[in-house]
Amino acid sequence: MQRIVRGVATKAQQQRQLSAAANAPKKVEVFIDGKKILVDPGMTILQACALVGVDIPRFCYHDRLSIAGNCRMCLVEVEKSVKPVASCAMPVMNGMKVKTNSDFVRKAREGVMEFMLNNHPLDCPICDQGGECDLQDQAVAFGSDRGRLQSRLDGKRAVEDKDIGPLVKTVMTRCIQCTRCVRFANEVAAFPDFGTTGRGQDLQIGTYVEKFFASEMSGNIIDICPVGALTSKQYAFVARPWETRKTESVDVLDATGSNIVLTHRTGELLRVIPKINDDINEEWIGDQSRFAVDGLKVQRLLTPMIRGADGQLKPASWEEALFTVAAKLRETSAEQKAAVVGGLNDVESLVALKDLFNRFNSENVMTEEEFPETSGGSDIRANYIFNDGIANVENADAILLVGTNPRFEAPTLNARIRKSFLYSDVQIGVIGSESELNYDYDYLGASAKAIDDVLSGKGEFAKTFANAKQPLIIVGAQALKGEAGAAILGKLQQLADKLSAGKNVQVLNVLQRWAGQTGALDVGYKAGTAALRKTPVKFLYLLGADEGKVNKSNLDPQAFIVYQGHHGDAGAQIADVIFPGAAYTEKDGTYVNTEGRSQRGYPAVSPPGEARVDWKIIRAVSEVAGKSLPYNDLKEIRQRLNEIAPHLARYRDIEPSPFIKQALQLAQTSGSIDVDVSPALRELADYYQTNVISRNSRSMAQAKKAALENKENPYAEAPIHARL
């Protein structure tokens, strides 16, 4: 795979190179509209104007993609030049005088806009981008009031629509050929099949032969396209932006905690778009996070249900359900109680559940996902979080991926690894499966024994890794299962300890798969359901546990199972009482991402039907059972969160974890690590339906079907978005 010539495209690289130089570089003096400003010499005129506060219109320039300079909308007048200058591409020079609002510039902008509108269809009333369209806004602000096209004499060009899958709708007549999508596909999404064909007026953008846009980041081209050429099929013809309300929240469908904006109207969630957060997801989110929200409208638990004497679940009232559960809670003894939580829960409900169980003298609260108990287990925070921070991946020299496929487990993290790969000469090694990643890597094997090789320095990658200035090990939480997992963690901690001497990176990072896992481990949950199998459990409380890790055969034959969640899936099927809870878009939640960063999400819609917010259900159970928990509203439970762990209330900060040396001392490295650590998600079709929400989503089912068909035959003749 091609790396881009080593330059200073990323801010991190820039800073690194500049700080590596002995002094700060001499700043360059530029005059913009008479205002003087001192800037670093590598900056373009457009960026310098942005520093002054002058916004230059542009279509093809995007600050996270490479510079194209083909739309010509950013033309400005530079004093000594006869022609106007594309400010997005021209670097500043000392003493440059730039005029951004003179008559010359205005005429240039009007001319460019006129050309662009000449071939643009009159689709505004039916175009989804109306209201949030860059072309509309810039035509109003910078265009002239009339055009000179005689469309009945000269006509307008029309382009055929391209079929790139069930997620992205294309109306290529509206395309203004800014090539942002092409650059995105090439650089960020690693899908080089998306490009331009032809030149001049006949330039068409697409895959030339009809192909599925086989990338987990395909939805981001919808955000990037300044006009309505690429839009979301799920959101087609649904709403106009001015009639919607936007609520900021956090995505829970993967563990990076990407920031999202929920667009909703009249109590109905319409779409999810990313919010810029330079530390976590930059400006992108994965397809699952974007499109799986239509799964929140089907298969929902809307009323409490109780399993009657005939073995069938029947709807019941809240009073009945609460009384039944509270009675059973009081009947069973502390050792016979257990709670299992899934991966999509907010920290408030986790804390409430643990408090409830503790009030009944039980400590049997555990997560579905496993984590070893050696090396201090979940007591030492450095064992289970992404210690170096996602943003630091850009600065890495060498990355070792163990038992993880970040492309499908955390697409935004993978985008950063790719960015690092493109703009620097980072060496990446993979222990796991040899699946297609967005970058070139050295495959070290499927068995974890390769870690021993790296430790001892055998092999070329091991040598590069040992000599790297900022090495990084990313281990998937899935690889740390069971006895072998404990040994793998120990070995990796040894390796990290050896490599981090004298450097300011922690080296070892654990990439969790579930958004609720880090929060649960922070609050004090045990990892893994092994404890269930030790003593027979008579009362089991499932909080969103849908991955099928608990069978009825593991429990006492007369076990009483309570399921609290938002979808009817594996957990609800085996339950005796069902409490309908709220999904992540419907409640105020605190979520801790895999870096240990706590973030809060706001609700966009209210829980449907008779569903209630999760922690309030647990609080109601506690009151009916006689041992009321001491918090009644959101502020009070957040105070409780602050009591348990102050970082849960300090949003958007990461804290360095201490006690790494102690973790190493407690590490167990003796077990055999000759196990296969291939990750579960290996190809694109595996990515789309991994959790309860996306399993119920029609868009994700269609995408999975398209991906499977694409694998068999990328050049299929039938339409890719055929109905299921």
């Binding site: 209630r612 609080r619 109601a620 009644n632």
Partner: protein
């Protein structure tokens, strides 16, 4: 000539010295001027500060005196209608008597005669006594004014019988749940 040179040199030196002394004297004078003006300005500033402090002290004494003499939170406020609480009390009692004279008409015309008149009179009395805790004369005056407005509206039949009933007895209004479990079961908190 040596003598004249010497004399000239001495003269020159003398003049230089005089000049030098003059310069020094001028500098000293300017320093002295500066110091005296500085002293004056400092003095005036200190004087103003002193005045301010005196004023504040006097205000504090005044407020302390007031706080001591007024036991409850009765402020001496600018009167609007009644000058003191006695007059306010008289106004309230007049309004009450007038309202009770209006009560039979009120009771009959608004269809509240499913209860005996005596009970209705007690309800009206409660509307007055529920404000018995008020001490601010201006607030009392305003409420008396509102009472007169209510009486006028009743005479002109501006009110709807159902609204009157809801206001007086809150019959059709469900009390909002206050404790956690009722709010939870009710759904819309």
């Amino acid at each position: 000539m040596n003598a004249s040179d010497v004399v000239q040199r001495q003269l020159k030196e003398d003049w230089d010295n005089r000049e030098f002394e003059q310069v020094i004297a001028d500098n000293i004078k300017s320093i002295a001027n500066f110091l005296s003006s500085f002293e004056l300005s400092c003095r005036s500033k200190l004087a103003t500060l002193g005045d301010k402090i005196n004023l504040l002290e006097r205000k504090v004494e005044f407020l302390e005196a007031i706080a001591k003499t007024t036991a409850h939170a009765v402020r001496t406020v600018a009167p609007i209608k009644s000058n003191n609480s006695k007059e306010a009390r008289i106004a309230v009692l007049e309004a009450y008597k007038e309202f009770q004279r209006l009560t039979p008409k009120f009771w009959w015309d608004f269809g509240l005669h499913d209860m005996p008149l005596g009970v209705f009179r007690a309800v009206i009395k409660k509307q007055f006594t529920k404000n018995a805790h008020l001490t601010d004369v201006r607030v009392v005056d305003r409420l008396v004014g509102e009472t007169h407005q209510h009486m006028k509206s009743i005479r002109y039949a501006f009110y709807n019988p159902d609204h009157v009933r809801n206001y007086l007895f809150a019959e059709n209004i469900e009390p909002k749940p206050k404790d956690f479990l009722s709010k939870f079961l009710n759904g819309k908190e």
